[in-house]
Structure formats: structure tokens, C-alpha cells
Symmetry: C2
Subunit: 154 residues, 2 copies
């Protein structure tokens, strides 16, 4: 009886629970990445580039769920640190493909192993079937969420 039709009950809200899990996940990821001198966005960028070399700044931003402005700041720092390289001139359009250097791939491998251990811990009580169910439900939530204006082109 804590909540009538108009309101959110924190105890039973799916959104609140989602935030709880993602917050715990974020904290654990930050905890294992900190000794490596990396942030979550930094790691995400490397993981994306490792799996899909040649992604542009904007594409990396979408994949890491930040704005292209934020990703751009990171890319410039990573480039000056020798973690990745970008073309100096676009091949088509304005996109500048980026690629990991050897140093970048080494850093990525260390981070990826650390993150994998976190993910394994998160789902340690889930059976394979349960994990599949969870993924299916999450995907349906993700698909239902966006309001029409095409994901907001910011």
C-alpha cells in the first residue's frame, strides 16, 4: 500500500533494480580497471577497436554510449599516448578510422581479462538457460525504450 497508481515504488520498480545492477557493475568494473590506469569508457573504446578495427570517432561513441564529443577527448589522449592511431585525412566523408597500436592491443588484453572476471562473477549463479532468458528479456526492454526521434541525433 505504499504506492497508488501514480508513482514509482522503489521496492518493486524494474527501473530502480536495473539501476542497482548497472551501478554495481560499474563500480566493479572501475575497481578492476583502476589498477590498470583505465576508465570504463577508455576500456570500452579499446574493446570496440579490437573487435572492429577502423571504427570512427562517432561510431566508437555510439558503441561506448557516450557523446562523440566525449569520445573525441578520449581519442586525442589515447592517440598522443600511442595507444591508437587515426588517419590524418578521411578516405570518404569526414570519418577518420582508428586502429589500435601494439601497445594498445596489449593494454586492451589486460583490461579485457579483468572485465571478463567481473562479468563471470556477475552471472555465477545463473544457469546457461537463465542467462539466455535474461538476455532475451533485456533485449526486449532495450528495444522498447527508445522514443521515436531516432535515438536523438545530438
Amino acid at each position: 500500500m505504499s504506492q497508488a497508481a501514480s508513482g514509482i515504488d522503489l521496492e518493486t520498480s524494474l527501473g530502480y533494480l536495473m539501476k542497482e545492477v548497472s551501478s554495481a557493475l560499474r563500480i566493479e568494473m572501475e575497481t578492476v580497471l583502476r589498477p590498470l590506469g583505465m576508465t570504463i569508457t577508455h576500456y570500452s573504446c579499446l574493446e570496440l577497436l579490437a573487435q572492429r578495427p577502423g571504427l570512427s570517432n562517432s561510431a566508437l561513441a555510439r558503441g561506448a554510449f557516450v557523446t562523440r564529443q566525449s569520445m573525441n577527448v578520449l581519442l586525442m589522449a589515447l592517440e598522443s599516448d600511442g595507444i591508437l592511431t587515426r588517419l590524418t585525412r578521411p578516405i570518404a566523408g569526414r570519418a577518420l578510422p582508428a586502429e589500435l597500436t601494439l601497445k594498445g592491443r596489449e593494454q586492451m588484453a589486460r583490461a579485457s581479462a579483468a572485465i571478463k572476471s567481473v562479468e563471470e562473477r556477475m552471472k555465477r549463479t545463473l544457469s546457461p538457460d537463465e542467462e539466455a532468458v535474461l538476455k532475451d528479456l533485456l533485449k526486449r526492454c532495450a528495444q522498447s525504450l527508445p522514443s521515436d526521434p531516432e535515438e536523438q541525433a545530438n
Copy 2:
């Protein structure tokens, strides 16, 4: 089979999917809160206080998944805007209970209705049973995640 034993496959990673959903949820929440002049943390604080009047700064920070320093910045702003009041002297310990003003409760009601519509949209394809399953699985993920040091007392 893009990934061997050591690494994360973005296409099938539960963690990445989780981030995708929480990012979409965050964007939608920000979209409906912006016209009301509120951020997610701002709303979270009000919702927590509406349901549990008298919470302290630290307790609100835990409930909104931010640091107590961040929550303190927000609380000072909300207090000067007449959204809430805090005791000037602690009753016990150092905690200063906060409570919404009438203005705060009105603001909260508008925000809560907007957020509820987002949550309803997110789970519109889920049956009641499926929602219950999703909550159960998410809870188990949340419980499995924390590494020992008691949630990091920062």
C-alpha cells in the same frame, strides 16, 4: 566464434547488454526530466525522500547510487531552492534528516509520473510472469557482483 577464452564478445556479452539497456533507460529518463528542469539524481533524491522522509545525506547518496559528496552538492542546491529542508543540528550522530517541502512534493509528483511512463514503456512487451523472472535474475546478478570489501566505504 570471434572470441576465444580470453575476452569479451560485445555481441553476446551480458555486461554490454546491461549497459545498453541502462544507457537507453538513462537517456529516456533524462529526456522526460529535462522539461521539468531536473536531472536523474535530482529526481532520485526527491523520490527517495517522498517514500522515506527523514533520510540523511549519506542514505540518499546510497539510494541514488552516487557519492555522499555529490549528493551533498545537490542537497544544498535543493535546500536553497525551497524543495526540501534539513535540520540544522543533528538529533543523534551527525546525520541531518531531510524532508520535502510542499513545493518539493509537487515537483516530485510531476517527475514521478513522467518516470513511470518511461518504465511502463520499457516493459510494455513483458508479461507479468516475465517481469517477475527478469527481476529475480537481476537481483541475483546484483547480489553476486560486490567483491568482499563491503561495497567500498569511500
